[in-house]
Structures are given as structure tokens and as C-alpha cells.
Symmetry: C2
Subunit: 338 residues, 2 copies
Amino acid sequence: MFGTVIHAPGDIRLEERPDAALTAPTDAVVRLAATCICGSDLWPYRGIESVDEPRPMGHEYAGVVEQVGADVRDIKVGDFVVGSFATSDNTCEICRAGYQSHCVHREFMGTAQAELTRVPHADGTLVATPGQPDPDLVPHLLAASDVLGTGWYAADAAQAGPGRTVAVVGDGAVGLLGILSAKQMGAERIIAMSRHADRQKLAIEFGASDIVTERGEEGVARVKELTGGLGAHSVIEAVGTQESMMQAIRSTRAGGHVGYVGVAHGVSLPGEELFFSGTHLHGGPAPVRKYLPHLIDLIWRREIEPGKVFDLTLPLAEVAEGYKAMDERRAVKVLLQP
Amino acid sequence: MFGTVIHAPGDIRLEERPDAALTAPTDAVVRLAATCICGSDLWPYRGIESVDEPRPMGHEYAGVVEQVGADVRDIKVGDFVVGSFATSDNTCEICRAGYQSHCVHREFMGTAQAELTRVPHADGTLVATPGQPDPDLVPHLLAASDVLGTGWYAADAAQAGPGRTVAVVGDGAVGLLGILSAKQMGAERIIAMSRHADRQKLAIEFGASDIVTERGEEGVARVKELTGGLGAHSVIEAVGTQESMMQAIRSTRAGGHVGYVGVAHGVSLPGEELFFSGTHLHGGPAPVRKYLPHLIDLIWRREIEPGKVFDLTLPLAEVAEGYKAMDERRAVKVLLQP
């Protein structure tokens, strides 16, 4: 099969690799209908995360089950499935508490920018759609695998809901889908922090009521202006830098909630400021598996169109160009067709 | 009147000062029945917080109202009252959300180790007891002013409750009262982290089911051993140092809650570790005013005895010895009688 391998920062190649195969009786092998490039894939691509040796890439996936191991009960060959970027048994104490992304058997997926991918703990990781999807639904279903699930978790962790003002730091795909999620949760007002016209447009389409173009301290001041000087009730952080984390915390009122899902890189939070902020801080890798049944249902009933964050579709063979387009901000998010 | 003044680290004096007086129509003046020394008072005493010029001390107080301003409606002269260390109007949006310690009109009390103290926003800060208390209730009521209210908030922020295992980092008065609070909230199991026999004894009396004497990484490992390898559901942090914060975060299971109330000094939280911990972090100055009616009720009905944390009672004239005793860990907490 063909699969994506990173050799060094900036060096992405599609290569012939051994076919994905079952290695445990709880595994499944999925033939990808679609896969995509994540904002977090840019960390090694940009050399911010080290690349010590060539390794496969990709953790977002939707497709048809081709093989299942002997212990797989719920997932069947031929099912169209969506899975989380983090595998889970969905039965341990942590999973049952709704934190499948911290399952005691968790593995992070990392081979999905390919034709086939192996999924450990298939029953606990994958969710089958009600039938074979219409082709136009595939991008939306793929989005549920990570970027929608992560935006949803951020909104949930930030306790977006009726009567609450939500501010969103980061206008990448996760931030945009955080807006969609907050809207679905009934948030009263959603402030998108964005300075890119195309992303602002999608933000408004997804439910943003206000756009703030300022960043850093000026952005914080603008959010405070819009919220009676107090700050937002809920702030979604979807970047993962020192600046974005501080912008999120400072934009939140005392007693408010920060939901942070940008993978932290070089972030160090000052304890005293955090203490006196009186905010709630929650985030990390999203328990996408928890939300998948609900998200798939919303997509299946055509109530949400999260796949709109894909603004460039390429054949898998052009994966290197996909990374380049995202790195250069020519694309918000790239869908790859194997 | 006589009041306590810090002149420099280690230099505490009781001095004759002008009588506390009304300065705004929403003020009250309270004659202290009792006041005490807070663990946080040791920060300047030890020179960890700078002391640029002499300043009065004390923010925990219970006593009888001697004067009220023209706009004070609910609190009457002659009432026995307990107030929070942070003043609040109790009407602003932040107060109504239960975060009175971040009230838009907040001031931190700081003159209460004295015979008289002025309390701003008396109606929003003070709570009157149902009548004049029996003398043996006074230490318990005084504890509600900060140390119990803060322990209660920590347990609340950590979501202590039925079915939850709570670990408590810090065996000072706040940590001990965090144990009492978690017990009152119905926690299933309470792990006290303490290496002092007298504090362990009080911890058990307040409801601790397990004692862990190890600290740092060994303490974390021990909490994990006691919780099936997962960590506690709820962890109370009641110290405020880098070590205690990291011990608290690492003792918490993914999806669990850290309630941190130790005033952070020199703490810097590593973003990546926090991200992958999947914990909830909430804390800061406790909204004691929110809890006071309930806490006073529990004390009045003699259901809790938080004043047991006072293991040394001195006349106010010996305040300097009180600081010394706490600094040298000869006392957990010192009650002062004006």
C-alpha cells in the first residue's frame, strides 16, 4: 500500500509500505475513504517537534472496515467507520468517566495518511455509521475523527452553553469547529478572534456573532470591552502557544472556563497569575470517542457541515503539496483522497 | 486601638494605631472577638513576599458590629458577624455567579489582627450569626472567615463528593479543613499527605481514611498505588509551591479535578505536561462569602468543629510570638484574643 512518511522537517513522502495488517485480535484494518492533515502535523513538519527517524503520519480517518480480529464483536467487515485519533478500549474506568483519550490502553494513531490503517481496540475506538454514506458526507464524517471532536471537546471543557459568551482563540480548523460546537451547545454569543477574511467568513457561517481582529493584550482588551469589562464566560484555546494560552486565560472572567486543545509547545503558565485569575482550566487530547455517536448523528441528519473546514482536496499522492499548502497558510485544512 | 504591623521580615509588632472608623457609607466597624494568623501571613514574615514599608496585618475576623455606615441595610450594630478575607458587594455579576472573591468591588482585608477592623461593603461581605455565640463556638466561627472557607472551596473546586477519592497535598490548617470539607461533601475516601504525627491525628479526626507520608514523586506513586494506578479523582492543593502543585497535578487521574488554594509563589506550570494530564485545574482566592451561611449553620448546629486547627491561643499582645510559633512549626494555627 502507499502511506505517508516524514523523513525530516519539510520532507514528506508518499511511499510504498507493507499493507496494514491485524497484529492483535482486537484490531481492525480500515481502507481509508478519506484522510487529512492536522494542524498538529505541522509541528514536526516545521521542526518544532523533532524528527529523529522516518515515521509514518496521519491520525484522522474514515473508511470501510476490511478486516477484523477474532475478538472484535461490534465492528463488522464492510462497516463504514469513523474513529478517534486516540484509541480506547471504552471499558476501563477512565473511558467510562468519559476520558477515552486517556484510556489505560490508549495508543495514538499515526499511520492514517495511507490507503489502509490498522486500528487497535476496534470496538472501543471506532463507531460505524448507520449505512454507507453519500459521498458528500464523507468530509464531514472525516472531520469528526479529530478536528470536530476536538473543537467539540474544547467547547464542552469551556462549558459553552445558553447564556454564555464564548471567545475562541485560534482560527484554524479546530477553532472554527469550536465555534460550530459552541453554537450547537446553545451559546448566546460567540466571539471569533481572527484576522483572515476567509476564516472570518467561515466563523460567521458556523455561528460567530462577533469578530475580533486584535491579538495578544489588545485582543484581550477587545474581548473585555465586549463583555462589560469582565471577560468571556467560556474561552476556547485552539493554538497551543504561550501567547495563545495567556490570551485565553486573560480573556476569561473570574469563575469562567478555559477549554484548551491546542497541543502545548513551549508553554509555561505563571502560577500566581493563574491563581488570581480564578478561571477553570481544562483540556488536553480530546476524548473524541465519547462524542462520536452524537457527532455522526448530527452529520447524518445533515444538521452540521464540519467538513467545510477542508478548503483544499488533493489525491493522497500529493500529500507533500498538502503539507506545504497548510504550512504556507494557503489552506486551512487539506483533505486527502487515497 | 492596638493593631498588628509588620515592619520587615520577622519583625511583627503590636502598636497603638488610630481607631478603625467608617470611611464609606457601606462600611462597618467590627470589634474583634477573635482573629488569627494565616499561613499566607508567613510569606512576608519569611521575606518571600517583600515588605517595602510597615503595614498592618490580618484578614481573618469574627466579632461584634460596633458601627455601620448610612447605606448598610442588613447588618446591624450589635450583630455577631463573620466576614470573608475578600470583601464583596455580593450583587455584581461575578458575585452572583458565586465568585465573590473576584467581586468588581473586591478589596483584600488586611487590618484584622487588631481590636477593631473596618469592613468595606459590610452587607455583601459579612454574615451575622443567629444570635450571640457561646464562647466555645467563637474559634469555629473565626475559622469560617478564611481557613475553613478556603478548604471548603478547595474541596468544591476539586469536586469532592460521593464515590470520589480525594487526596490532600498540604497538612496545614487549610489542608486539614479541606479534609473536613471533603468529608462533609460525602467523599468516599480521603488520602491525607502528611508527615507530622499531630497533624495526621487531626486529619483522621476530620475524616481522612489514609495517610501518605511520602512527598514529591514518591508521594505521587503512593497515591497511584492506592487508586488502582489511576490517581485520585479529586486533589486539594493547599501549599502553593512548585513541588506541591506538581505533586497535586500528578496525583490526579485524567479527567480528575485539582482544587488549588495555596497562594502560588514562584510556580510555573509546564504546559505540555498539563495538557497531557487531562486534569481540571481550578482554584485561587476562595469565595468564602458564598459558603459562609452554610458554614455558619454547620457550626451553629455543632456539626463541625473547624476551630480545632487552632492549637495555640495567645492574647493579641503576644502576636509576635504567634508568628514565631507558626514559622517554627510549633503551631499549626494561632488564635489571637484582643
